[in-house]
Symmetry: C3
Subunit: 226 residues, 3 copies
Amino acid sequence: MSSIPETAQLGNHTVIEDDVVIGNNVSIGHNTVILRGTWIGDDVTIGNNCVLGIRPAVNQRMRKSDNEDRQLIIQSGTKVGHLASVYSGTKIGRNVFIGDHASIRENVLIDDKSVVGRAAIVELNSKIGKFCTIQTLAYITGDTTMEDNVFIGPCVSMSNDKYMGAKSFTLNGPLIKMGAKIGNNASLLPGVTIGRNSIIGAGAAVTRDIENNVTAAGVPATKFNR
Amino acid sequence: MSSIPETAQLGNHTVIEDDVVIGNNVSIGHNTVILRGTWIGDDVTIGNNCVLGIRPAVNQRMRKSDNEDRQLIIQSGTKVGHLASVYSGTKIGRNVFIGDHASIRENVLIDDKSVVGRAAIVELNSKIGKFCTIQTLAYITGDTTMEDNVFIGPCVSMSNDKYMGAKSFTLNGPLIKMGAKIGNNASLLPGVTIGRNSIIGAGAAVTRDIENNVTAAGVPATKFNR
Amino acid sequence: MSSIPETAQLGNHTVIEDDVVIGNNVSIGHNTVILRGTWIGDDVTIGNNCVLGIRPAVNQRMRKSDNEDRQLIIQSGTKVGHLASVYSGTKIGRNVFIGDHASIRENVLIDDKSVVGRAAIVELNSKIGKFCTIQTLAYITGDTTMEDNVFIGPCVSMSNDKYMGAKSFTLNGPLIKMGAKIGNNASLLPGVTIGRNSIIGAGAAVTRDIENNVTAAGVPATKFNR
């Protein structure tokens, strides 16, 4: 059984499975599903028609993360929008904002005060720092590392599989260093590093590492003076 | 209490909060949530598992619109798909079509007979004219102005923040003039104007204003003869 | 009435309309809606808050498919994620995986053992072969033909309307031949053919046919040596 404090506000037709822990002053919207093993801190707000605490269900052709039995942790003060989904084995820090229709996979860390935009997707094994902004419809591939204060524009795309399934390859997401900013609809190739405080232009395709403190744009992205 | 006419067809587990007005011959799907303050005209059809009338919930790092207390208005003959979300303070005109998984923010106007495609997103304070087509997965940034008869291809991306949060900047969406057409997956930078009846090629990045009646493509987009 | 075998596991608030056929050992999540005319094979798993078997609801400005009265067929061993939507008149083969937030339109065939990624969209009248991978947020336009073993990277975009509604045009999706691989966020123009085992780079815009066994990249995409 799950123990639900009297301070919780639950919507209609909310489903809360067993082994769910709910803090004080939590609000959960209508038709939202909280699956077993989910841990929700104080002052968390969750919208309508969400699904939280999903255990990975994969077929033979998809990889598994290491620790799919761990719980989903949502720390205090965080807000989750509507129609969003979050997997188990993931930790969402304090005062994070998860937009409507967003999807966050297993074994992800999203650190304090970061924003995951509307319909943005964060794939498995990614680490997002503090005060990051991931804008609407951005796609954070698996195994991405994002330091603090990174800005990812809307519709940014990433990949982590150099050979697109054709050869054996250790999947390798981008490393985006502190303060970097990626313009809308830019594409990052597998394993690229974006340097500290560097800026990538809208629509660029980043095919190799970008050093610190530069601006790069174009397909493929090249440095230009600023 | 909300007054629900006898002509309304409601699905199972539908949630209709207080202060909702529902016209004649309205159909609302299963598990759909209509939040307080929503006004629905005659002959409106709403699919399953939608959330309508959302009041903005923002954290300290996200901006608010001016008038978040206003109601959501959906005028007669409009159809909303499944798993879609629409905010309060927005007006959707007559005979509009809102696709499945679409998301429309607060303080938006979508004028008569326009189409918002599947999983397309319209951000706050945007004005969409009549007979516009916004295709699947297109992203309409905040403060966009779109005149009548505009065509936005699938996966088009826009932005409205020139410095990506780095400096103070008045957010400034694109202005897309009457009859303009934007090809699939093109990127528009903050504040650009696309002239009347101009065409932007697929995958282009539009970094400056485009005059009337021209075709432009490439990264960055340049005019070419047609 | 629908006949639901004793081996079925149904979540809370699940809605199963009339004329639904459910095989053995089927699991259906909470708040999921199965609309009339849906046929579900043995050992199928469906997540929470999905909508399956949607009949097309179009306005005057959107086209209809030919056979919108046919049923949705989901064959044995297939898994559907959470918050996904699938239309009627579509056939999903055996051991297919449909990701969370994905949307699949009417009159589509997805053949055995293919994967449709998270938030990916497959538009009407498309045919997807066996062992294909369509990654996260990819957009498969209407009338696309994809042979077996094709790989579509994340955020790939396609279009099928050469004149973007300006002239009468037979809608014409891409033809992607066996073993081809499309890099993330590439854009395919209407009617292009991608040859067998060819590779398209990330962020490319493919404006004309690509022959077999080549690599092409850039905006517009040109062949380069490998």
